[in-house]
């Protein structure tokens, strides 16, 4: 086997092994899911306790006075909850202020549009919430009492469950449910860049900073070295992704309701094969372009510190479409969307968004894919050439024009 090709495998093995040997890799990889787990746990238990506290508060019984300008509040229900209707609101409020009354509720003429005022004795940060809870419970119970029919009362309280079906050319389009699956590629793209971006930048910088370039370039072609290091990074990224997701999978198995999405039935998810294929290809070519760009930047810059500022510009450009996401979704064929779709740095995110929304025609997808692939290949070629010359420019930023033979 050709030594250089064989060496790609050796580079991959060396890079992966040395990363996995580092305790810091495992510490950092496990810290993220542990942190998320801790936050989710706190939110979960906090939500549960908040909900039970609210229920307990609404069921609390204490004496209170109230005025009812709407006429909706049922005096019998109010009396059962400890309420006594008064006509002089000012006096009732004065009693609360003086400490002779526990609480006073002022129900307005139109509770649907106007706020109900609640006044009470301070019972602490959390327990004082009981006044609002009891006032809300009283008005809800009074409304239900007025409606009479329990089903109508439930409908009025909980709203209506609507399931929408839309069609394009006679074929169901799936709505939001068809948007979610191809969006997975955008999430993957985002995570890949967040996780691997800095390391991609260091692919070429490490050899330069360690002054190891000359020795290594006499044993391996720069293309083989860079390909080996990038593949190793992707493998490490996948391992890191698995480390991240394993605790989440375990948590979901233990607590299946942990990520219940409101109004979304995941079992009804619509998977459009066309959009999935385009999404996958956009992810692949977008990632390739990103890699080429960072390799080129790393080759020009003398140190990671200086490369960092250029990296920030790349990141902002890549995710610029997120700032205009509402416009891109609302007007996927508008001028801004068109510019973002074909400008190489904004193309991956914009095209993936439009593809997920079903607003990217096949010919547009084809143009973007070809453009990204060509741009990525050109960047990688330039990056390799810059690496060959730039990596022995140890202390200074490389003159790109000179390195490319243009000066």
């Amino acid at each position: 086997m050709n030594l250089s090709v064989h060496n790609v495998g050796r580079v991959i093995r060396f890079e992966v092994t040395r990363t996995l040997r580092k305790p810091t890799f495992w510490a950092l990889s496990l810290a993220v899911p542990l942190l998320f787990g801790a936050v989710f746990g706190l939110v979960y238990f906090s939500s549960s306790s908040t909900e039970s506290a609210a229920t307990a508060q609404s069921e609390q019984r204490f004496d209170f006075t109230y005025t009812d300008a709407s006429g909706i509040v049922d005096p019998h229900l109010a009396a059962a909850m400890g309420g006594r209707e008064v006509t002089d609101g000012e006096a009732a409020l004065a009693d609360v202020r003086a400490g002779t009354s526990t609480a006073y509720f002022a129900f307005p003429a139109e509770p649907a549009t106007q706020a109900t005022r609640v006044y009470g004795q301070d019972a602490g940060l959390f327990d004082s919430g009981k006044y609002a809870s009891v006032a809300q419970a009283l008005i809800k119970a009074s409304v239900a009492q007025r409606i009479g029919d329990p089903e109508l009362a439930t409908l009025a309280a909980a709203g209506v469950d609507v399931q929408a079906s839309t069609y394009r050319d006679g074929v169901p389009t799936g709505g939001i449910l068809s948007f979610l699956a191809p969006m997975v590629f955008l999430v993957l793209f985002y995570l890949s860049i967040m996780m691997l971006g800095n390391q991609m930048l260091n692919v070429t910088l490490e050899e330069k900073e360690n002054r190891v370039t000359e020795m290594i370039l006499t044993t391996i072609r720069p293309t083989s070295l860079i390909v080996g290091k990038v593949v190793a990074l992707v493998i490490v990224g996948i391992i890191q992704g698995l480390v991240f997701s394993l605790p989440v999978i375990v948590a979901l198995a233990v607590m299946p309701g942990l990520v219940d999405l409101p109004d979304v039935d995941l079992s009804a998810l619509v998977i459009d094969p066309g959009r999935m294929v385009v999404g996958g290809l956009l992810f692949g070519t977008g990632f390739l372009m990103f890699t080429g760009l960072l390799v080129a930047i790393g080759s020009v810059m003398p140190s990671a510190k200086e490369a960092g500022s250029a990296f920030a510009v790349v990141i902002v450009s890549l995710f610029l479409p997120f700032y205009a996401v509402a416009m891109l979704i609302a007007e996927p064929r508008g001028t801004v969307a068109q510019i973002f779709t074909y400008f190489p740095l904004t193309a991956p995110v914009t095209a993936m968004l439009r593809n997920a929304a079903g607003a990217l025609d096949w010919w547009e997808a084809l143009i973007v894919l070809v453009e990204l692939f060509v741009f990525a290949a050109a960047l990688l070629a330039v990056g390799v050439r810059l690496f060959r010359t730039g990596s022995i420019s140890y202390n200074a930023r490389l003159d790109v024009r000179k390195a490319l033979g243009m000066a």
Binding site: L3, R18, T218
Partner: protein
């Protein structure tokens, strides 16, 4: 025409960086099994020549060939290169780094690891196999670097200032390792500023000045080409200020005075005695490489 025994052939090599012409039609050959010294002041183009030879710099014009072909990394398996700007993966332990480079040179992992252990023991670094490179002293790092260079028994060793950063003890150790490879038949190309090493080790030398070959040949040929003979004296007294007595090396009681072409030493000796200099010992010899170096590069060599 290339000598059939030539391992390295450089012909009419030109290299430029922008407006700066570093090499201007350089030509030379290095023969199989010889030790070749590439000499010159800083900035004379020595390192650029090696980088062009190893494909690190693309050549603008001319040829730089190894075994008759342009360098390709697949040839790196039998070439050991110790660059001037050197380093290894500093955050990694010694043994995995050495094994990795051995593998890149085509050695099986187990063989590379075994060889590395043996080498570390030989150079006094046994027990530091798992130590991170940045935890080693500068000299120890240099030893590891040299080990990586000579892995896989290279047939061609290219050393750019190999003793840079070494103390005298380790310099001797390094040169003995180089000597071992020389005796095994390896071809050695060496850039160095240590002229005594060149005189002791090198079969032939090339003196580069401003990108062109100033002198090229065996050490005696170059010595003959430059300055001819030298009068070396140990003396007491004060050397006269005379147009014929122009020492190139002058210490407290020692001086090296170049002799004009074909002139006998007796004339200068008589002049010294007449000036009241007491000569305790004298000899005539060819000019040392250091003298030639100083003569060729003048004050620039001290840059």
């Amino acid at each position: 025409m290339t000598e059939p025994n030539a391992v390295i052939s450089v012909r009419d090599l030109h290299m430029s960086f922008g407006e700066q012409h570093v090499l201007k039609g350089l030509s030379f050959e290095v023969y199989r099994g010889e030790t070749f010294g590439l000499l010159g002041s800083n900035g004379s183009g020595k390192t650029t020549t090696l980088r062009a030879l190893l494909g690190i710099y693309p050549t603008a014009r001319g040829e730089a060939l190894i075994e008759g072909t342009r360098f390709d990394p697949s040839m790196g398996a039998r070439i050991g290169y110790l660059p001037e700007e050197r380093g290894l993966y500093r955050k990694e332990p010694v043994l995995p780094v050495m094994t990795y480079f051995g593998q890149l040179k085509g050695m099986p992992a187990a063989v590379a690891e075994g060889w590395s252990r043996g080498y570390l023991e030989k150079v006094g670094l046994a027990g530091k196999e798992r130590t991170r490179l940045d935890k080693l002293s500068g000299g120890e790092q240099q030893k590891v670097q040299l080990g990586v260079t000579i892995m896989n028994d290279p047939a061609l060793l290219i050393l750019d200032e190999p003793t840079k950063g070494f103390d005298p003890v380790n310099r001797r150790l390094l040169m003995s390792i180089v000597e071992e490879h020389r005796q095994r038949g390896a071809t050695i190309v060496m850039i160095t500023h240590q002229m005594e090493e060149v005189e002791r080790l090198c079969d032939r030398v090339l003196l580069l000045k401003d990108g062109v070959a100033e002198a090229y040949g065996t050490v005696p040929q170059v010595q003959d080409q430059y300055g001819g003979r030298t009068l070396r004296i140990e003396f007491t007294g004060r050397l006269p200020d005379s147009p014929t007595v122009r020492p190139t090396v002058r210490e407290q009681n020692y001086a090296e005075i170049p002799l004009p072409d074909g002139a006998p030493a007796t004339g200068i000796l008589r002049e010294l005695l007449d000036a009241g200099v007491e000569i305790r010992r004298f000899e005539t010899s060819r000019a040392s490489l250091e003298q030639i170096f100083l003569q060729v590069y003048g004050e620039r060599a001290e840059d």
